[in-house]
């Protein structure tokens, strides 16, 4: 069979097998507690209904900046087993839902699990904690009796924390984390008991505030007409009691009974949460990251050896990954009920998706592997940005003025696509410079085609960013009567539009040629990253300082890297590997002889 077809098919099959394996949920043993079935129990957080599993993961993220926690080795009486240094022995990552249940029920090992991140050297030294520990996560037992901390918390409660005081801010941070944990231990969190039909008074079950277990129990005793759904309360109480007592059979039957009851309340509750639990476990965007890594490798290797089968495989795997990506995006939209972009995280996800599709589309035009590799790079980077932006629930509700799916799906989508296209043009520019300077791949038709494509993408970017920006103005006019207010975010979008217009006009006026277009397009990367993240930095002090500081550094590094590539691009083109004057009789160019290094343009 022909390797050009066979090998890509093989790669896609391998990827499919890998994904299937990753998709299969961790099965709880038949004779153990069915934690995975419990994980889908709906709770109310960030204004929406989410599975208990997501609640647990979000708590872990907030407490420890990581979605999972390692279990500690413990004996039958739930006492942690210590090694010879008196440290707990960490085992495998445990189910997030089990962690949350243990914490809510104050089961012994939870005090020894390391899930609270404290990340300031001075604070760690002051608390006598090990500043060299990997991940900087500590257990409650490690600092709960610390006298320094107790005194300091007293002091802050009394005088309040001082602005711009790093020490105060960090102690405040620890206090907040302690509050989060103690709220869980007091069963004030999560809000897991729905309201009774009478208390809902005709409103949807999702739209009314659910009660925490503690509030529902208290109400039970005090009120004649409780608002909590009593049946749900009893069933949840059974689950918690069975878990606390370690009664496997009772736990499993209680979970099943509650799930059956939930389905009689509103079948869409569980149908959504079950999918979300699956998606949490599968982590589709993370899997896409991995697959794009392989697309990148295949594409790069195709420029050296076995070009056609590898390039085809890169493209096929790229398309396969985009399909997975699209499904994941669709599931997000379905669960949240919002248009795709609602916050910075989802804008990064969306930019990665659009960039992958656009670049793979370009690959169909230029057909030399560059499109596939670029798709992999841009989507990978966008996903990395997204994964680093996660600091809580990513599908939370929106403030009043943004609660409009019409404008979210027109203006926000359009502007985000504008960012995306500008980035793609920028990365095409980077490709032009790097491949041009370092390799001879851009000799002849390839280089010309690359610039033509860049130019086309700039046109596309201009259209999208202009229309998106103006739609934003129209939304503003619709909601508060002001089309354009020159506010920082609007200005950021305007900068992108003008920059794209500069590229096009400079090109039409003959002020720049191929190389100029490429270099200006790289500049677009800087302008767009400023609009995307930079304007948020202007409010420094009002946002989470640590988070924003990281963003600032990344932004500066990204800008400098792009400037460096522009500087490289300013080397006279005679010196570029691709544009060196060809000597008529080159002694030996084995790859060229096979016609594999410089893929020729094929007629469509």
């Amino acid at each position: 069979m022909n390797a050009k077809i066979f090998f890509p098919a093989f790669v896609v099959c391998a990827a499919a097998i890998y994904l299937t394996a990753a998709y299969l949920p961790p099965a709880d043993a038949d004779d153990a507690m069915q934690i995975q079935r419990f994980a889908a129990i709906p709770v109310q957080e960030s204004g929406r209904i989410m599975p208990f599993d997501t609640f647990a993961r979000v708590r872990l993220l907030v407490l420890g900046h990581k979605e999972w926690v390692a279990d500690v080795e413990h004996d039958k009486e739930d006492k942690a087993i210590l090694d010879k240094d008196g440290q707990v022995v960490e085992g495998r990552p445990m189910s997030q839902s089990a962690w949350a249940l243990d914490t809510m029920l104050k089961k012994e090992p939870t005090f020894d699990r390391r899930f609270i991140r404290i990340d300031n050297d001075q604070v760690l030294a002051w608390l006598q904690l090990n500043a060299n520990r990997h991940g900087l996560r500590f257990s409650i037992n490690e600092f709960r009796d610390n006298k320094n901390l107790k005194d300091e918390i007293e002091r802050l409660r009394e005088v309040g924390s001082e602005k711009d005081n790093m020490h105060d801010a960090k102690v405040e941070d620890i206090m907040q984390k302690i509050t989060i944990v103690s709220r869980m231990m007091g069963m004030d969190d999560p809000h897991m008991i729905p309201l009774s039909a009478k208390a809902r008074d005709g409103q949807g079950i999702r739209d009314v505030p659910w009660l925490s277990f503690r509030a529902a129990m208290k109400e039970d005793a005090a009120l004649e007409n409780p608002t909590a759904d009593q049946k749900a309360l009893v069933l949840v109480r059974n689950i918690l009691a069975a878990y606390d007592a370690g009664k496997v059979k009772q736990f499993n039957s209680s979970v099943d009974a509650y799930r059956v009851y939930l389905n009689t309340l509103d079948p869409t509750l569980l149908s959504h949460t079950v999918v979300e639990v699956r998606s949490n476990h599968f982590a589709p965007f993370y899997q896409c990251c991995i697959l794009f890594g392989f697309v990148f490798l295949l594409g790069c290797v195709s420029w050296m050896v076995w070009s056609e089968p590898l390039a085809n495989a890169a493209f096929a795997l790229g398309v396969f990954t985009v399909i997975v990506y699209t499904i994941a995006l669709g599931v997000r939209i379905w669960i949240s009920g919002y248009a795709p972009v609602t916050n910075l995280y989802s804008s990064a996800i969306f930019i990665g998706w659009g960039a992958a599709i656009l670049c793979l589309g370009l690959e169909r035009i230029i057909r030399n592997g560059i499109g596939s590799v670029l798709a992999a790079i841009t989507a990978f980077l966008a996903l990395i940005v997204a994964i680093n932006l996660v600091d809580g629930d990513t599908m939370g509700k929106l403030v009043a003025v943004l609660e409009s799916n019409f404008w979210l799906s027109t203006h926000v989508t359009c502007v985000t696509f504008g960012y995306m296209a500008t980035f793609v043009a920028g990365f095409l520019g980077v490709t032009y410079v790097l491949l041009g300077v370092l390799t001879n791949k851009l000799r002849g038709e390839s280089g010309v085609m690359l610039v033509k494509v860049t130019y086309g993408v700039v046109c596309f970017a201009t259209l999208l960013s202009f229309v998106g920006t103006v739609l934003g103005g129209i939304w503003a006019d619709q909601s508060w009567g002001r089309f354009w207010g020159w506010d920082p975010k609007e200005n950021g979008a305007l900068l992108i539009v003008i920059w794209n217009a500069i590229i096009l006009h400079a090109r039409w006026g003959g002020l720049v040629k191929s190389r100029g277009v490429a270099l200006l397009a790289i500049g677009g990367n800087i302008v767009t990253s400023w609009s995307w993240f930079g304007v948020n930095l202007l409010g420094v002090g009002l946002h989470n300082y640590g988070f924003m500081k990281g963003v600032f550094t990344t932004l500066v590094v990204f800008a400098i890297a792009n400037l460096a590539i522009i500087a490289i691009g300013l080397i006279p083109q005679r010196q570029w590997a691709s544009f060196m004057p060809q000597r008529p009789q080159e002694p030996r160019r084995p790859n060229d002889a096979h016609g594999s290094v410089t893929p020729q343009l094929k007629p469509a």
Binding site: D207, C459, D477, L495, V517
Partner: protein, 439 residues
């Protein structure tokens, strides 16, 4: 004669030219034209209409937009708009150019960079665009997209000019059950002296002194008043507190001002996300009109209720407040509702049910105004802007943003035209590209 040729030019490299253009490269018509000796005015016109100038103006626009964004770190959005964007020129402080890293005491704090403002750049771009179309563009199908989209841009600029000169904004604030027939101009002040002698009066007799006069200070005289005013102190943004021993002397020597001292605060910045506004305070000295004798100094502040004073058998109320504009209709807040996201502090929707009463037209009806759904009435649009609830009484106060903008339709038209223009223009290019590829 099309210097704005759409075909991407071949790469600079000799190799690329070999591949792309086997024949001699035809000289672009623009250069050919430039070689012929031309009269000076034409040469200037060609320069003015050139794409080189367009690109330079675009770059300068980016500079002004960028620094106009940064400047909002320490200046209010309204001030930045009038200084940077709706101005002929702007003196950009070195502090802004240096990303605010200057020491507050450094000498460089007084340095400025003069730069053309928004109006100037806009006008120059407009001249560039119009001359380009007059001189260089020949009507053809191929150019139709560009013409349409440039016309759209023209409309957008026109819209911004109309907004800048004619748009009018205010807030209509009312508590539940309250009837109101005026707007408040946010960011503009008036010192109002109202004759309240007759408790059964139908209409108020008001003398109002506006913002600019207050900031200028000095003597203010009006024939309706038996006394003159002299502005002693004007604080744009302030905080008040009860005077106690050891504080600087109290603000005024008469009335309640005797017990109050004030702290001046910096004006609210444009990037402020807490929706704060300036709260001003003023100290005025009253003088008898006939004798010029001082009647003492009094304080009036947006933090305080109006103060009453008796003079020559009449009672006056004196208050510093947002400038009011009266309307021939009344609005009464019947009901207000604030919906929260379940189990969160975050608002989901604000709703106001307002009775609209127009005596001359015998109109009296209830209207429902909520997020993203404004009321349009009498050439003005009323948007739900904010809402607050008194924690003690539970009474809601709603704020409606009132806007009159005769140019509001232009951005809509412009958006359609520019999008259409780009689609046509890029579409023609794309079709050409694909056709060549197939061929």
């Amino acid at each position: 004669m099309e210097p704005t040729t759409m075909e991407p030019q071949p790469a600079l490299s000799p190799t690329a030219i070999q591949v792309m253009a086997p024949g001699p490269v035809p000289p672009t018509p623009n250069r050919a034209a430039a070689r012929k000796p031309q009269p000076l005015p034409m040469r200037i016109l060609h320069l003015v209409s050139s794409l080189r100038v367009t690109v330079v103006l675009f770059l300068m626009s980016m500079v002004i937009v960028f620094f106009g964004t940064l400047a909002q770190k320490e200046m209010s959005n309204i001030d930045v708009v009038s200084k940077y964007f709706r101005s002929a020129y702007v003196l950009i402080p070195f502090r802004v150019l240096s990303f605010f890293t200057l020491d507050p005491k450094a000498a460089a704090n007084s340095w400025v960079l003069p730069f053309p403002g928004g109006w100037t750049l806009g006008t120059l771009l407009l001249i560039n665009l119009l001359t380009a179309h007059a001189l260089r563009f020949k009507m053809s199908w191929k150019k139709s997209g560009v013409v349409i989209l440039h016309f759209g841009i023209l409309l957008m600029m026109l819209g911004e000019v109309i907004t800048g000169h004619y748009a009018h904004e205010g807030m209509l604030v009312m508590s539940q059950g309250e009837t109101v027939n005026y707007l408040q101009r946010s960011g503009e002040l008036e010192l109002a002296i109202t004759d309240v002698t007759d408790p059964d009066r139908k209409e108020d007799d008001i003398v109002a002194v506006y913002d600019s006069a207050l900031a200028r200070g000095g003597k203010i005289s009006d024939k309706e008043l038996p006394f003159d005013l002299n502005v002693v102190k004007f604080l744009r943004n302030s905080e008040l507190r009860r005077w106690k021993e050891g504080d600087p002397p109290p603000l005024a020597d008469t009335g309640r001002g005797k017990d109050i001292s004030a702290i001046e605060k910096p004006a609210v910045q444009g990037t402020n996300t807490e929706k704060q506004t300036d709260v001003s305070t003023i100290v005025v000295e009253l003088k008898d009109k006939a004798t010029g004798k001082s009647l003492g100094t009094r304080v009036s502040s947006m933090w305080l209720d109006p103060e009453k004073l008796e003079y020559q058998g009449k009672t006056y109320e004196i208050s510093l407040r947002n400038r009011r504009e009266y309307r021939p209709f009344f609005m009464r807040l019947n009901k207000a509702e604030e919906k929260k996201q379940p189990n969160m502090e975050m608002a989901k929707d604000y709703s106001s049910w307002v009775q609209l009463i127009v005596p001359q037209r015998k109109e009296d009806r209830e209207v429902h105004i909520y997020m993203n759904t404004p009321l349009r009435y009498g050439g003005e649009t009323f948007f739900q802007a904010n809402m607050s609830q008194n924690p003690d009484t539970g009474v809601y106060t709603t704020g409606l943003q009132v806007v009159r903008n005769p140019g509001w339709i232009l951005p809509y038209l412009s958006c359609i035209l520019v999008a259409l223009g780009m689609l046509i223009h890029f579409g023609i290019h794309l079709v050409g590209f694909v056709t060549r590829r197939v061929a």
